[in-house]
């Protein structure tokens, strides 16, 4: 009884000061008022509500039943300010997000950018505590603590190498949250307009896929899951599941609150399962593209749920991320010479059954650190090609010291970064930046590839697939067509590598067997230190 009254007051006030903006508020008001009249007077409610008549209905009720407290009028003015403050804060937050994102797109202002966006987030979060009709404050505070403490701790403690999978994990959580909002809104039993209901359902599908898909991406990058699961008719089964999800979604849209709970549960379970099934066949090398795609999808889901909740901050931030994430995904896929559709539906290594037509010629020729150091010291130009192996070995600091030692001997040293080196575009740049390598020594694929022919030594450290010449020559290779760094065109190639294993894509690297290639076996950091020591002692 008392909750009904509170809800009634809340609904009345809400509807008045937001200028009767939504149909579902009207519906709530109508239902609750009717219920209230029924309970207090015992007679069936007798009124027709439409938007224009709302204020009349509430004043009538206040006078006739004398049960809605007289301070209702005071509550009318306070929430008006409350709403103004909330909307203004959301507006400021949205502006801060866009400025922050803009600043993050330049190396000079990037660090300020995240702080601006962070301030926007804090402002938006704090004012939300004053949102009209809110209760369960204790639960909210507990939930925030439960979520924030581990997220903070892991974000601070995880090694830099593992950051790509942390992005995947946190992104998945965002998608899950969007799906949870959709679930609450759909379970609430309130009739939404068809548009809102559709957006809620779409947000639920996209958010769920992003949630479970990102978790699989996380597991793959964390190497909890090494195999790609590929089975017969996989595409067909996925398609059937997707169509089923869409049909169930349609049922939920049409039936609204009357929908059976089993339909709802099946809908969410299938959407979560689809995210897993979609991600399982995709190989680890394609994960950056996939994570970026899920990032964009989460943004879109957040934007959709923003429409459902009439929350402009969510609409704008979600849509901005959805659009920029899509562009980022395209850029990455382009760098790998694959379309997004190709990444998602072909399954990396789907050609693994076909035998590569090119045989590996030559043999692996080892070299020791001293000879390698001499080779580099008397070179005119050395190009260093870092890969994931450098990240794992944390070798970037030693490599930078080595670079400085070589530069003192007037050797020109450049860094060549493949767009997908490491596990994410820009991953290597972050690590080199951490070690203190200045930007002007770092070149990307297009800038450096023409220079390899004038390069005396190409030092490959922990990179594999991105320098594999098979991408140019063997149409049966799964990486065929991917642009590579032409390290094989350099006069000499030194490869620092821990063992004889293949790269992330699981393909034999023909570069390692070439006549002008020497293998320097060992841990990247240790070998970097030994090279440095030799260069220094021989100088």
């Amino acid at each position: 009884m008392s909750t009904t009254k509170e809800q009634l007051e809340g609904a009345v006030v809400n509807t008045e000061h937001s200028l009767l903006q939504t149909q579902q508020d009207l519906k709530v008001l109508k239902d609750l008022t009717g219920q209230y009249i029924q309970e207090t007077t015992g007679t069936a409610p007798n009124f027709q509500i439409n938007a224009a008549e709302i204020p009349k209905v509430t004043t009538e009720n206040t006078q006739s039943t004398q049960t809605v407290p007289t301070h209702a009028l005071n509550q009318w003015i306070a929430p008006m300010w409350q709403n103004l403050i909330i909307e203004t804060s959301y507006f400021i937050a949205a502006v801060l997000f866009i400025i922050g994102l803009k600043r993050m797109s330049s190396p000079v202002t990037a660090r300020v950018g995240i702080v601006w966006a962070g301030i926007g987030m804090v402002v938006a979060t704090l004012v939300t505590f004053g949102y009209p009709g809110m209760s369960n404050y204790q639960l909210i505070l507990i939930a925030i603590l439960v979520g924030a403490v581990p997220a903070f701790w892991f974000a601070k403690k995880v090694p830099v190498v593992a950051m790509p999978q942390m992005i995947a994990l946190y992104n998945g959580m965002g998608g899950g949250a969007a799906a949870a909002i959709a679930a609450v809104e759909l379970a609430r039993g309130v009739t939404h307009s068809t548009t809102v209901q559709t957006l809620a359902v779409l947000g639920a599908i996209i958010g769920s896929i992003s949630f479970s898909g990102s978790l699989i991406a996380f597991a793959k990058l964390q190497e909890l899951m090494k195999k790609s699961l590929i089975f017969k008719n996989q595409q067909l089964i996925n398609l059937i599941v997707l169509v089923t999800i869409l049909l169930l979604g349609l049922v939920i849209i049409i039936q609204g609150p009357q929908v059976m709970p089993t339909v709802m549960i099946l809908f969410f379970v299938l959407a979560l399962a689809f995210g897993i099934m979609m991600t399982l066949p995709i190989g680890g090398a394609d994960m950056p593209v996939v994570i970026s795609l899920y990032n964009a999808l989460t943004g879109l889901a957040v934007g959709f749920e923003g429409f459902v909740l009439h929350n402009n901050a969510m609409i704008i931030a979600g849509t901005v991320v959805g659009a920029s994430g899509t562009l980022l995904t395209q850029l990455m896929a382009k760098a790998m010479n694959r379309s997004i559709g190709n990444v998602l539906f072909s399954g990396f290594g789907a050609t693994a059954g076909e035998v590569s037509t090119e045989e590996v010629k030559g043999s692996l020729k080892p070299i020791d650190a001293q000879d390698a150091a001499v080779m580099m010291m008397y070179a005119k130009q050395v190009v260093i090609i870092p890969g994931y192996g450098m990240a794992v070995a944390q070798a970037q600091h030693k490599i930078w010291e080595l670079t400085k030692a070589l530069k003192e001997r007037d050797v020109v040293v450049k860094f060549a970064i493949h767009p997908v080196a490491g596990r994410m575009p820009g991953h290597m740049n972050v690590l080199l930046a951490e070690a203190g390598v200045p930007y002007d020594l770092i070149f990307d694929l297009d800038e450096i590839n023409a220079e390899f022919e004038q390069t005396d030594v190409a030092l490959v450290i922990g990179a594999n697939d991105v320098v594999n010449p098979i991408a140019r020559s063997d149409p049966n290779s799964p990486i065929y067509g991917m642009p590579i760094l032409n390290a094989d065109k350099a006069k000499n190639v030194i490869v620092i590598k821990r063992g004889r294993g293949t790269g992330f894509a699981g393909i034999e690297n023909h570069l390692f067997y070439m006549d002008n290639t020497r293998m320097l076996y060992g841990d990247g950091q240790k070998m970097g230190a030994e090279l440095l020591q030799n260069v220094k002692s021989l100088s």
Binding site: M104, I114, M173, A177, V321, M332, A435, P438
Partner: protein
């Protein structure tokens, strides 16, 4: 009807904004930027708070609670991962000379 179209305009303009803001980004910032945009969709937290704040029965509260936990993880984790990545760009400036 008009409300719906206003929303559609907001959606369109926000989409163009997102596209434009990113379009001239150097490759070196792709990872931090993905991380940064990952943080920004952490705004889902305010929606999750409202969903939990207005939840009535146990089921709604449970789902809402999970929603807030996930959303706050997205926001907090996303922020500090991004900050740590960008922190490295500072040290590079110091080392560049």
């Amino acid at each position: 009807m008009i409300e719906g179209f206003t929303s559609l305009y907001i959606f369109m303009l926000a989409a163009f904004t997102g596209y434009e803001v990113i379009s001239r980004v150097p490759v070196i910032l792709h990872t931090p930027l993905m991380s940064g945009s990952n943080f920004i969709h952490g705004i889902v937290l305010v929606g999750a708070m409202v969903a939990l704040g207005q939840a009535d029965d146990t089921l709604e509260k449970t789902i809402g609670f999970i929603g807030v936990v996930l959303a706050v993880g997205n926001a907090v984790g996303g922020y500090f991962v991004t900050e740590r990545m960008l922190e490295m760009f500072k040290s590079s400036k110091g080392g560049a000379k």
